[in-house]
Amino acid sequence: MKARIHVYLKPGVLDPQGAAVAGALKNMGFDEVTAARQGKLIELDLDGSDTAAAEARVDEMCKRLLANPVIESYAVEIE
């Protein structure tokens, strides 16, 4: 199985990378860009076949390591 995890900064949390990306794109003449946010994309290869169980385990991985609850939220897809 594969798990795909999106980690986002929570709204209101400072996002220097996003800000820099938006600024750089503007400087390059991409004026249509009004805002940018940068997050992480983590893909895991998992043994096993029980999707529900995997879902729960990956959620635990996010809580304990992959995301920092103070500033980040996350979304998990299992394929």
């Binding site: 209101g12 949390v13 400072l14 220097p16 992480k40 304990r64 992959l66 103070v70 500033i71």
Partner: protein
């Protein structure tokens, strides 16, 4: 004073921390490998040194925050005993929840290494009493993720409680309210981005880092 320095695979200021502590306390600190689950008996002071504990991969300090020794460090802090985290050590203390807020990528996205003017905002902590009223310091910084962030309420609370210990004179990383170092509410856990262990000898260009360790001697 019996001290311990926690060593992670990518720590690289562990020796510097060891030398600064030994120089001030006259006792060599124990170097404690991250896979240990206990601190040496009688440990009074714990330092989490700078470096790139796990290459700063994922999030600075995140993986270190999950290592075997961390529960022991937390227990030590909960007993009210002093814990100091410098640079990556500060990031680790934040990841473990011992200190509030977050340390984000520097505002200009560049790693910054410079000798930074600082002001002592609270000279009455276990980590700053030896400054004896001295306010203006110069201590080197060297980091990529020292941009302190917390919501306004938290920032106000930190200011109100005198938990903001050091402030930048010239903000090198975009930190909220120029914050360079904070203590927890109880005052026994401090995190700071500047490196006091790199300002303890004349040839370093100044010794403004010494009082951080001297203060501990007084209080421990």
């Amino acid at each position: 004073m019996k001290s311990a320095v926690i060593v992670f695979p990518g720590s690289n200021c562990d020796r510097d921390a060891h030398d600064a502590i030994a120089r001030v306390t006259g006792e060599k600190p124990a170097m404690v490998w991250h896979q240990e689950s206990a601190l040496p008996d009688g440990t009074e002071f714990v330092m989490v040194p700078g470096g790139f504990s796990y290459g700063d991969y994922l999030r600075c300090g995140a993986m270190a925050g999950t290592s075997a020794i961390i529960p022991a460090v937390k227990a030590h802090a909960e007993r009210g005993a002093p814990v100091l985290g410098v640079c990556n050590g500060f990031q680790i203390l934040i990841e473990t929840g011992l200190l509030p807020g977050a340390l984000m990528r520097n505002a200009d996205l560049l790693f910054v290494c410079e000798k930074t003017p600082l002001s002592v905002e609270n000279g009455n902590t276990q980590f700053t009493s030896a400054y004896g009223g001295k306010r203006d310091l110069v201590i080197p910084v060297a980091h990529h993720d020292g941009n302190y962030f917390a919501d306004e309420a938290t920032l106000d609370r930190l200011e109100g409680n005198g938990q903001v210990v050091f402030r930048y004179g010239r903000n090198p990383n975009g930190s909220a309210r120029d914050i360079a170092g904070i203590v927890n509410e109880r005052g026994n856990v401090m995190g700071m981005m500047p490196h006091p262990e790199r300002a303890v000898d004349e040839f370093h260009g100044g010794t403004d880092g010494l009082p951080v360790f001297e203060s501990l001697l007084g209080s421990a």
